[in-house]
Symmetry: C2
Subunit: 400 residues, 2 copies
C-alpha cells in the first residue's frame, strides 16, 4: 500500500474534491492542492526504507499521488546533486553556500519533476490528449513524458522561447505551435482549445499534480541535508510552482515529524524586468498585479502574472522569507561566476539566485555562516545565447 491521497483542496475557499476524477481548477478559480492522509502515510514508511530505493523522485512514492505502479512514467528524474560551493562561497562572503543542480535531470530542467508526476497521474486518470502553454522548458518536459506515456500533447510557446525547446517538443512527437506574444497569450489559446476539444489542461497549476512533482525538491533537500533544512533557500520564480512545491513538501515532512520546527527562509527571486511577486511582497499585498511589458533574458521567469501568486507570497511570509529582483546584467555576471569558479554552467534563472544571495548577504539579511541553498533550475546548455564568446581559429600548423 503506497497510495495515501485523501482529497483535493482549494487553498483559497477551502472547498474539497474527490481525487478519483479529472478536476482542473476549483469552482472559485483557484488551483487545487493534493491532501494526503499523513497519519497513515507515517506508519507505512520510515526514513530508513529510503536507503533501499533508487535515486529518483519515486523513492518518495508514498508522498505522491499515483495509485498503480504501472502508471508511473519515469525517465529516471530526481535526486539531483547537492553541491557545496567551497571556492565561490567564501569569495562572496558565504561559507556554507550550496547549489542544488536541477540541470542534471531528463530534459535538463526541474520541469521534468512536474511533468513526470503530472503525466503519470494524467495517464492514471485515462487522459489521451493534453494541451499547455509554456515558456519552453515545461513544454520540452511534458512532450517527453507524454511520449513515454503514450499521450498526445499540444504545446504552445512564445516565438522567443529557447530554440532547443522547440526541437525537444518536435522530436518527441508533440503538436507544437508558436505564438507572437507572451506565455499569457499562449495560455489564452490553450484555454480556448481545451474548452473546444475537451482536452486535459496541463497548464501551470490548472491541474493539481504537477506541484506534487515539484514538491519532491523539498523532500530531497531535507534528505540531502540529513533531515535538517538549510537556513535560506533562494528560488527563481516564474509560475511559482517550484517554491510552492518545496514549501508544501517541507510542511508535510514536519507533519510526520521527519524534520523539526525550523523552516528555511524562502526567497523568491525575479528579474527586474518582470517582478510582479517582488512588487506585491514589497507592498504587503497577498496577490500580484499583471506586469506590463515584461522582459528578461531569464526567459523561464518571464511570467507577468502567476495563477499561484498568492501561494508564493504565503510561502515567503510564513517562513520569514523575502522577494528580490535582480538585473539581467547581474544575472549574467553570476552565471559566469558559477561556471568559472565551480564549473557549473547554470541557466540564467538559476544564476539569478546567486545574484540575489550576494545582495542579501551585503544587506545583512543573510549571515556569513548561515547555510544558504541556491536552486539552479536548469542546464545552461539550453541557453547558448547567454554566453558571448570570440574564439581564435588556428591552422593545423599553428602553435599555442
Amino acid at each position: 500500500m503506497s497510495y495515501f491521497v485523501d482529497y483535493l483542496e482549494c487553498p483559497k475557499c477551502g472547498k474539497t474534491y474527490s481525487a478519483e476524477n479529472i478536476v482542473q481548477l476549483c469552482s472559485c478559480g483557484a488551483p487545487l492542492l493534493v491532501r494526503y492522509n499523513l497519519k497513515l502515510l507515517k506508519k507505512s514508511i520510515s526514513k530508513n526504507d529510503l536507503k533501499e530505493r533508487l535515486p529518483s523522485l519515486w523513492r518518495y512514492r508514498e508522498f505522491l499521488p499515483i495509485k498503480e505502479e504501472q502508471n508511473i512514467v519515469s525517465l529516471g528524474e530526481g535526486m539531483t546533486p547537492l553541491l557545496l560551493l567551497n571556492t565561490l562561497g567564501p569569495r562572496v562572503g558565504m561559507k556554507n553556500l550550496y547549489l542544488k543542480d536541477e540541470g542534471i535531470i531528463p530534459t535538463g530542467t526541474f520541469k521534468a519533476r512536474g511533468a513526470a508526476v503530472g503525466a503519470s497521474k494524467a495517464k492514471e486518470l485515462g487522459v489521451k490528449t493534453l494541451a499547455m502553454p509554456t515558456n519552453g522548458n515545461a513544454g520540452g518536459a511534458w512532450a517527453a513524458y507524454s511520449a513515454r506515456a503514450g499521450m498526445k500533447a499540444y504545446i504552445v510557446m512564445p516565438e522567443d522561447a529557447p530554440l532547443i525547446t522547440r526541437n525537444e517538443c518536435a522530436i518527441a512527437g508533440a503538436e507544437l505551435y508558436l505564438v507572437k506574444g507572451l506565455i499569457s497569450d499562449a495560455g489564452k489559446i490553450v484555454a480556448r482549445a481545451v474548452q473546444k476539444h475537451g482536452w486535459f489542461d496541463a497548464s501551470t497549476l490548472k491541474e493539481p499534480y504537477r506541484i506534487e512533482g515539484k514538491k519532491t525538491m523539498g523532500l530531497e533537500i531535507a534528505e540531502q541535508f540529513g533531515w535538517k533544512v538549510p537556513d535560506v533557500i533562494l528560488y527563481p520564480t516564474g509560475g511559482g510552482v517550484g517554491i510552492i512545491g518545496i514549501y508544501k513538501g517541507l510542511r508535510e515532512l514536519q507533519e510526520i515529524g521527519w524534520i523539526g520546527d525550523k523552516m528555511p527562509r524562502l526567497v523568491s527571486v525575479q528579474a527586474s524586468g518582470c517582478a510582479p511577486i517582488v512588487k506585491a511582497w514589497e507592498e504587503g499585498k497577498s496577490e500580484s498585479d499583471f506586469w506590463k511589458n515584461s522582459q528578461t533574458i531569464a526567459f523561464g521567469i518571464n511570467v507577468p502574472k502567476a495563477i499561484g501568486d498568492f501561494l508564493v507570497l504565503e510561502a515567503i511570509n510564513k517562513t520569514a522569507g523575502c522577494a528580490v529582483a535582480v538585473d539581467d546584467h547581474d544575472i549574467l555576471h553570476a552565471q559566469a561566476q558559477l561556471a568559472a569558479n565551480e564549473g557549473i554552467f547554470t541557466c540564467p534563472e538559476g544564476a539569478a539566485t546567486l545574484a540575489a544571495a550576494v545582495r542579501l548577504e551585503k544587506d545583512g539579511w543573510i549571515k556569513q555562516d548561515e547555510e544558504v541553498l541556491l536552486l539552479n533550475t536548469g542546464a545552461g546548455l539550453k541557453y547558448p545565447d547567454t554566453v558571448d564568446i570570440k574564439v581564435p581559429v588556428l591552422e593545423p600548423d599553428d602553435n599555442l
Copy 2:
C-alpha cells in the same frame, strides 16, 4: 583506507610504472592502465556498503585512483538512469531492450566521468595546467572539472564541433582554440604545446585515469542489473574509452567475485563515414588504420584513428562481441524513434546503438528475449541541428 592502486601497466609491452608520479604514455607509445590490489580491495568493501552511499560514481571509491578525499572534484556525476524501453523494444523485436542515459550527468555527456576522475587525479598529482584536443564534449567536461579543481585548461577543437561545447569551455574559463581540421589535427597542436610548455597532456588515453572514470559505467551497469550483466551492450565508439572502461570495470568485478563468469557481448558501433574499428574487426586485425576523409553527423565518433583501438578490439573479441557501422540516415531515424516512443532525446552517437541493435536483431545475432543495453552517451540537447522542424506561428487571436 580506500586507496588500492598498485601500479600502472602497459597492456601492450607489459612494462610497469609507479602511480606516485605523473606518467603519460608507456615508453613503447601505448596507453597505460591502472592496476589495483583487488584482494585487499575485496576485503574492504561489500556490495551492501554501497547502499549507504550517494548516487554518484564516487560510491565506487575503492575502485578509483584517488588517495585523499579532499582531492575529489565532483559535480554529482554518475548513477545515470537505466530505462526499460517497454514501448519501443517490442516494436523493434526486442522484449528486453534497455537504455542507460548518460545525458543525465553534468555537462550532458559521459565525458563527465572521465573528466571527474581525471581532473581529480591531476589535482592530486599537483597539475596546475592541462591541455587536450576534443570533438567538443570532452572539452566541455574537462573545462568544467578543471574550473572546479582550480586548474587551467587549454582546449583545442575542430571548427565543426557542436557550438554549445564552445560556450561550455569559454564560460568555465578555459583557453579555447578552434582548428581548421579534425580532432587529429587538434591533437597534433596539443602535442606540440605540452612538449613546449610542460603542461599535463589530458588527451584521450594519454593519461591513465580518464578510463577509470569511464569504468564506472561498467560498475553501475552491474549494480543496476542486480549484480548480473545483460547479454549484449552496444556502445558508440570514437576514441573507444567508454567500451574499454566498461570491459575493465566488469573484469575487476569478476576478479573480486561480485559478478559471475558471464560477460556481455560488447558491440562497438561506428558511423559508416568513419568506421576504422569495424573495418579492422571485419578483417580480423588487432589494430585499425587511419580512416581518410571521415564524415558523420555523429560528431563524437568522428575519430579516424584511436590510440586505444587494440584495446577496443580485444574487448570485442574476448566477449564474443562484434563491430557494426550504421549510416547517418539510420542514426537520425533511430534518434526520432527513441524520442517519439520513449521520450528520450538522445545524441546521434547514442541513437546509433539503436540502429545497430535493430540490424543485429534482424540478422539473428541478437535473440528476441536477450537483455540488450544501449548506451546513450549524451543529451540530444547539445545537438540542435539534428532535428529539422517547421512550426506553425499563431497570432494571439488564432485557435488550435
